[in-house]
Structure formats: C-alpha cells, structure tokens
C-alpha cells in the first residue's frame, strides 16, 4: 500500500507521478464527455422530432425538486473545491469536514432523485413498467412520451450511477483524510476526485435545462 510521498515503481519523480495521475483523470473525463454525448445527441434529435409531446412530458416532471437538486449539487461542488483548497494549505480537519459535507450533499441529491423516481413510478411514467402517460390518448402519444421518459431515466440514471461511484470515492477520501494521509505535498487523489466530482456536476448542469426547462411557460 502506498503511503504519503512514496513513489510508485514506474515513475522517476513525484512530480511525474502527480502529472501522470492528473492527465489520466482529464483523459478519462474526456471519454465520459463522449459517453454522455451520445445520449445527449439522441435526446436532442428526438426532442426536435416530437417537440410537443416532449414539452408535455417535460412539464410533468418535478421542476421544484430538480431545481433544489441543482442547488444542492452546485453547493457540493463548492464544498469539494474547498476541500481541495484545504488539502493544499494543510488544514486536515477542514479537509475532512468539507469532504463529509460534499458526501452529505451528494446523498441529499440522490435522495431527492429517489423521491422523483418514486413520483414517476406512481404516475406510471416508467417505461417498461406499466407505462401509461396519458390514459385514453392514442398509441403515438404514449410511444413518443415513452421516448422522453426512456431518455429521462437513461440520462438521469447514468448520472446518478456516476454520483454513486463518486460517493464511494468520497467515502474512501474521508477515510484516508482521517488517517492524515493528505498533505500539501501529496493531495493528488483529492484533486483528481475533485475533478471527477466537478465533471459530474457539469453534466447535471446540462441535464437540468434540457430535461426540466424545455417547455415551461
């Protein structure tokens, strides 16, 4: 197990090790952009094909909860950024506090998401599970609404999965932070997981308007 300041075998210097880890995370995030990008593209194309149904379906998801979640997530990015700062100036206690705050905010986000999903379940808006958007409407309306909800669950679900992974990473960071592992000389995991967390936040910042705000009037 690698302790503070210890150099992995394949690297020549600590600086190289740090640079490598950081570049690795950036490249990984670029693959995630393409991954989500395919979904966003599918959504955009379908939205422009069925603007009315997509608008109607979008109005049926809970804007208030979505908005609260947006604030929660942005706040969690703030606490994450603060934790990176704390690690850079050696304030270990603050680091742990901010990491825990980030985890709490992330969990709040997931909890609210769960509430939203439950609402959709009750309203029969989950595709493949007694889906019925508008009882009595023709088959086309239901089919197109199902497209919206498939993409809604696909996009927010994939995002939530990334949040859960992020939460796991935060748990690990908290554990290591409590052990005093991070110092101004060595805070690479905090920085890189911070990058990941910010990315997941940015994905939500695109998701929210696309899914919740498209046709509100």
């Amino acid at each position: 197990m690698h302790r503070t300041g210890e150099l992995y075998e394949q690297y020549r210097t600590l600086e190289q090790q740090r640079e490598t880890a950081s570049l690795g995370m950036w490249i990984f995030l670029s693959t995630e952009v393409l991954f989500f990008g395919g979904l966003f593209m599918t959504y955009t194309i379908n939205r422009s094909t069925y603007p009315d149904i997509f608008g109607e379906a979008s109005r049926s998801i809970n804007l208030a909860l979505g908005a609260i979640n947006t604030v929660v997530l942005i706040a969690s990015s703030l606490t994450m950024a603060l934790s990176v700062w704390a690690s850079q100036v050696g304030k270990t206690k603050l680091l742990t506090i901010f990491l825990i705050a980030t985890l709490v905010l992330g969990s709040v986000f997931l909890g609210i998401k769960g509430v939203e999903y439950h609402e959709k379940y009750v309203e029969h808006h989950i595709p493949g599970w007694n889906f019925n958007f508008e009882p009595g409407a023709d088959a086309a309306t239901n089919a197109h609404a199902q497209l919206f909800f498939s993409l809604y669950f696909g996009m927010t679900g994939l995002h939530a999965l990334h949040m859960i992974v992020g939460a796991g990473l935060l748990l690990w960071l908290i554990k290591e932070s409590l052990r005093g592992r991070f110092t101004p000389e060595y805070n690479t995991p905090v920085e890189n997981i911070g990058l990941y967390w910010h990315f997941v936040d940015i994905v939500w910042i695109f998701l929210f308007p696309l899914l919740y705000l498209i046709d509100r009037h």
């Binding site: 009315d52 023709d138 088959a139 086309a140 309306t141 089919a143």
Partner: protein, 327 residues
C-alpha cells in the same frame, strides 16, 4: 443475363454506361498507381539488395518537393473521382417529374409491388423500356434494400419512412433484383426478376389483369370512408379539416408560417403523426392512425388522395396555398 466478359452485369438502364465508365476511370487511375508502386517496390527490392552483411543504406531523410507532389497530385485525382461520382449521384437522387410511379413494399422475406393501375406483383417487377420509373419503397418490418445490378441502382427500404429511387430501363430483358440489406433468415431468398418490356407489351400486360377490387384508388376511397376521414375532411371546405381536393403536389401553408409540398411522404406523415405539420388556420384535432393501417393501406389512401388532384379546390377551406396553386 450477363455480359460476354463476366466482369460486369449487362447495361440495362440510363445509369449503367455512366457508372461503368466511372468504374473504368477509377480503375485506370488506381491500376496505374498500384502498378507503379509495385514495380518500384519490386525494383528496389532487387536492385538494392544487401550485398555485404555489414552494409547500410544511404540516409535520405526526405524531400519536400516529393511530399508536396504526392499530396497534391492524388488530391487532384481524388477530387475528379469525387466530382464525377457526385454528378451521377445527384442525378440519381433527383427523380425527374414525369415518372411512372410504382410502389414497392419489402417485408421479411418477400417483395410486394403495386403498379399504378393497382395490379399487384410478388417478387416481380414489370416496367416499360424507355420510361422514367420511380419506385416508392416502404418496409413493413426491418431494413431491406431493393437492388438491380443491371441498372446499377439500389436504395435501402427503411421502416418508418419512404425512400424513392428512379431509373430508365434501356434494354428489354429479365434482370435480377436482390434484397441488399441483411434482413434476417431468408435475406438471400428475397429477390426476384425485373422484366423490362416494350411499351406496347407493357400496356397490354397491365390492362390484361387489371381488376376493380385491386384498384388502389377505389380501395383508398373505401378506407377514407371507413376510417371516418370524411367526417372532417369535407371536400367543399366547410369541415373541421381542410378539403383534400387539389392538394396532392401543391404547396400547403402550415401553422408555423412555413410551407411544405404535399408529396407521398407528407401524406404518410399526416396520417401517422398529424401533429407534426398542422395546416395554417386549423386546429390540431386529427388523431394519429399509427398502428391502425398497414403500409399498403397507407399507399391506397395516398392513391385516392392523388386522384383528387384534378378536383377543384374550394376557395375557402382548402389545404392549398392561395397563390401557389399546383406544380
């Protein structure tokens, strides 16, 4: 069926000779480079073979003039290939106005063809030589492709929308057609014969077996009544929906200010997804018939609506744009 030199199919359409000439052109250029490079490789391989085990070659790192030359020249040649191909393709994608329209439906694993008089064929297509023929292609299930090598044409048949293709047969005879997009178990059996006949023979063949009950216009009119279209689409324009007299082929003004030409695809979309394009001045009342009509029934309805082209459009309550009139 095949030409004397078994390297290319018979040339039986207006496209064939041009496509073959294009093939020869590109082959010639590619053969030139292939031979030149192979010759150079083989020549160098033997001329510069190692004579002494310790020998090294002459270090030549590069030459900007050569690099420029073999970028610019191939680029220029490539653009000529592109240009000629583009001309053929654009011609192929823009059917002329005066086509004989034949409907073709692909389904696993057979082809149903409907001639303009309503005469139906299975896995056979009869066409007259010298006429421009347009095929309107629809699929009932998966993606297929209608391909006639002797004509050098093909087009995918995609479920969910129409594709069209055109050609002008230039030689009487019988030619293979194939399904050319993998579509499941019997993809290889999903073909048949195109029979190109002299125009007199073709008319004779057509009228020889025309029969009122297979007339698509008649079938379409029956459906139009059965599905209660007449409830709203009154022909005198006083209904909740525009009159369809004179609409086919005309420009239609839409609620969002744009205009659209009422072709086969527009009719089909209006039946299956009416909310997509609402005619200006009308409410979005029409229900969707998705899942309630087969592709053939949609084609029958379209034939009926086409037959209303010559009916006078009412001055008020028509789907036709006021000044545009018919094309």
């Amino acid at each position: 069926m095949q030409s004397d030199l078994p390297l290319y199919p018979e040339q039986a359409s207006n496209f064939a000779a041009n496509v073959d000439a294009l093939m020869v052109y590109i082959t010639a250029i590619c053969a030139f480079f292939a031979v030149a490079i192979t010759a150079a490789v083989v020549y160098f391989f033997f001329k510069y073979r190692r004579k002494d085990p310790a020998e090294v070659g002459v270090p030549i790192h590069g030459d900007m003039r050569l690099e420029t030359a073999w970028i610019v020249v191939p680029l220029f040649l490539a653009l000529t290939m592109f240009g000629w191909g583009a001309v053929v393709y654009v011609d192929y994608r823009r059917a002329p106005m005066d086509t004989l329209d034949i409907y073709v439906i692909g389904k696993q694993w057979m082809w149903k063809v409907q001639q303009p008089t309503g005469l139906r064929e299975i896995n056979e297509l009869h066409v007259p030589v010298g006429r421009n023929v347009k095929l309107i292609l629809a699929s009932e299930d998966v993606i297929h492709d209608f391909s006639v090598p002797a004509f050098r044409v093909k087009m995918d048949v995609v479920p969910g929308h129409y594709n069209t293709m055109w050609f002008r047969p230039t030689k009487a005879g019988r030619y293979h057609f194939f399904c050319q997009q993998y579509c499941g178990t019997n993809h290889a059996l999903m073909g048949g014969w195109v029979t190109v006949m002299e125009p007199m023979e073709y008319s004779a063949w057509l009228s020889g077996s025309s029969d009122a009950t297979t007339n698509p216009v008649v079938a379409g009119e029956k459906l139009f009544v059965e599905k209660a279209c007449t409830t709203c689409h009154l022909s005198n324009g006083t209904g909740r929906a525009p009159s369809l007299n004179g609409v086919f082929g005309a420009k239609v003004p839409l609620a969002d200010g744009s205009t659209v030409t009422a072709d086969d695809a527009y009719i089909r979309e209006s039946i299956l997804n009416p909310q997509a394009k609402i005619v200006a001045g009308y409410q979005p009342l029409m229900p969707s018939f998705q899942g309630q009509l087969t592709e053939e029934q949609i084609m029958d309805l379209t034939s009926y609506i086409k037959s209303l082209q010559s009916q006078p459009a009412p001055t008020k309550g028509s789907g036709v744009a006021p000044d545009a009139g018919k094309k």
